[in-house]
């Protein structure tokens, strides 16, 4: 059993609106799992239920083998959280914030100091460690909060829109840190409304719309699942006949754009193989070949648009 997060029918109702509606999914050990959805979809509410901040109205969440309701302390001991809103103590220094976290996670003083030093170095805040967090920029605060979440070397990390509203440097630093952490074995659960981020970072994404999970798969598969028809762009070093191209196996249509041919294919794999064979037969060298997958943006918009009756 390598499920690190098991969410089963998680549900949260605020007044008359259901913010999260029977959401179920599993996150495996070593994965970066992206939770993708537009604003107000229920990402934060789901994250808060998973991290034991608010109780679900129905359903269960098992984190690292512990039920978040019945064994909250044991579950929480194993993960770190970067919540949606910045929340280091602004009246304390970065160092004091980290030491407080160390104590709350039960670290020995020496280990907390060593970790704090390492982490502050890693996020580039070591010189300003004795400054009150009040004076920090948003990016610096967010880097500190990430360090605070990592103080006890958790095997699971929750992040709720960790890069929203940050400058490019902080965003890049945080994303590359997350990649490094994941390579060292940390499982990551991340919510975002940024497709590009999910696409570049996540092994799998779940797409949530008005509280309901509408799709869950690898980003590449989600993109291709949207469009049954594939487009391939190919160019050769010499003139070839469009009629001939249109006739080869797997190709259902051909368009010419400049020096490139846009091939419409039902089966991408067959089409590419026959294009290669076609080039060889006709003595034409393939100069470029691109598969034009729909962007995750398109996939996302399709999946999150309300279906019309």
């Amino acid at each position: 059993m390598t499920s690190v997060i098991q969410a089963l029918n998680l549900t949260k109702v605020f007044g008359s609106s259901t913010a999260v509606d029977h959401v179920s999914f599993d996150v495996q050990k070593g994965e970066i799992f992206g939770f993708l959805g537009p604003n107000g979809a229920g990402k934060t509410t789901t994250t808060r239920m998973l991290t034991g901040v608010i109780p679900p109205d129905a359903g269960t969440a098992t984190i690292l083998g512990h039920d978040i309701r019945s064994e909250p302390v044991l579950a929480k001991q194993g993960f770190g959280v970067v919540p949606e809103t910045s929340n280091a103590y602004t009246d304390l220094t970065a160092w004091q914030n980290l030491m407080l976290m160390g104590e709350l996670y039960g670290l020995e003083h020496a280990r907390a100091e060593r970790r704090s030093n390492d982490l502050l170095g890693m996020v580039g805040l070591l010189e300003r460690k004795d400054q009150k967090v009040q004076a920090y920029s948003k990016g610096m605060k967010q880097r500190l909060i990430l360090s605070m979440a990592l103080i006890h070397e958790p095997e699971l990390l929750f992040l709720d829109e960790p890069t929203s509203g940050l400058d490019v440097q902080s965003t890049q630093m945080i994303l590359s840190l997350l990649r490094d952490l994941n390579e060292q074995g940390t499982t990551i659960f991340l919510t975002t409304h940024n497709m590009e981020e999910a696409n570049r970072l996540c092994h799998r994404v779940g797409i949530i719309r008005s509280g309901m999970l509408v799709a869950i798969d690898a980003p590449e598969k989600l993109k291709t699942a949207i469009d049954r028809v594939h487009r391939i762009e190919v160019s050769f070093d010499r003139e070839v006949s469009g009629d001939l191209l249109a006739g080869i196996a797997g190709v259902s249509g051909v368009n010419r754009t400049g020096d490139k041919w846009q091939i419409i294919a039902e089966n991408q794999d067959t089409a590419i193989r026959s294009l290669v064979a076609f080039g060889k037969q006709n003595g034409a060298v393939i100069v470029s070949l691109n598969t034009l997958v729909p962007s995750l943006d398109e996939a996302f918009l399709r999946l999150t648009q309300e279906e019309k009756p």
Binding site: R48, V53, V73, A88, Q96, L104
Partner: protein, 251 residues
């Protein structure tokens, strides 16, 4: 180490208390409600009633000081942290609500004891003689626990506006002062006032302080101590239980 065990949770509560001491002791409202208010209230009373002996007044001042200081820090912490979103951070840490409440109470208790001890020292410097030191000490410790639990109870309504809680707590704190034998000796109270004062934990503390300085007391000393202990236990258990229930509503 068992993170969910009592020794570990108590250690983590101490971490919360240290944080509170660093952050909240020096906030304006804490100093105003906790230190200046009782001093000026006392001075106003002192000017108006010169016929009461100094030892009676100082006992009242000590009672009032502990009551105001020990209830000054605790009610505001939850609303402050709720609005600063740091409470969400604590809620996702491996610490129980009970331990968070305990940490906040410890900070509140130490604030109360610290300032009260200063008041006692001033009293001694003014020529007051301390007759029962150990009784005074245990009374101060017990009452500080009790009052800081009252402070935490005042913060139970899940609002994240500290000034609302400050207002509510003044509304409850001031009437208590007048029924607890601080300005009016219990002996001079009308019967209905005496009934009210029995319900106020401050009454027993003031009685003990007067006993410690003047050897005069209204209730038996053991009754005073037992009453304070019972109030402290009931209020502490009550506030922990209630905060556990209202905590999610603050997020």
């Amino acid at each position: 180490m068992n993170p969910a065990g009592y020794p570990e949770q108590v250690r983590r509560a101490w971490a919360i208390a240290k944080k509170d001491i660093r952050i909240y002791y020096f906030k304006g409202p804490v100093l105003i409600f906790g230190v200046f208010m009782p001093v000026f209230l006392f001075l106003a009373f002192f000017m108006g009633s010169r016929q009461l002996p100094l030892s009676f007044l100082i006992s009242g001042l000590i009672g009032m000081t502990l009551f105001f200081t020990a209830t000054a820090v605790s009610p505001a912490i939850f609303p402050w942290e709720g609005s600063a979103k740091t409470l969400e951070r604590l809620a996702s840490c491996p610490i129980t609500v009970e331990a968070i409440v305990m940490g906040d109470m410890i900070a509140s208790i130490l604030f109360g004891i610290g300032i009260t001890v200063i008041t006692v020292i001033i009293g001694l410097a003014l020529g007051l003689s301390l007759l029962h030191g150990s009784t005074l000490l245990s009374a101060i410790i017990l009452a500080a626990c009790c009052f800081s639990a009252i402070g935490m109870l005042l913060a139970v309504p899940p609002t994240n506006v500290p000034s609302n809680i400050m207002m509510l707590s003044s509304l409850i704190k001031f009437p208590l002062i007048f029924i607890s034998g601080i300005f009016i000796p219990l002996e001079q109270m009308p019967a209905w006032g005496l009934v009210l004062s029995i319900c106020s934990p401050l009454t027993y503390f003031t009685d003990l302080v007067r006993y410690a300085f003047t050897d005069v007391h209204y209730f038996p000393v053991m009754i005073d101590i037992a009453a304070l202990a019972v109030f402290a236990v009931v209020f502490t258990a009550g506030t922990m239980c209630l905060h556990k229930m209202t905590m999610p509503q603050r997020m």
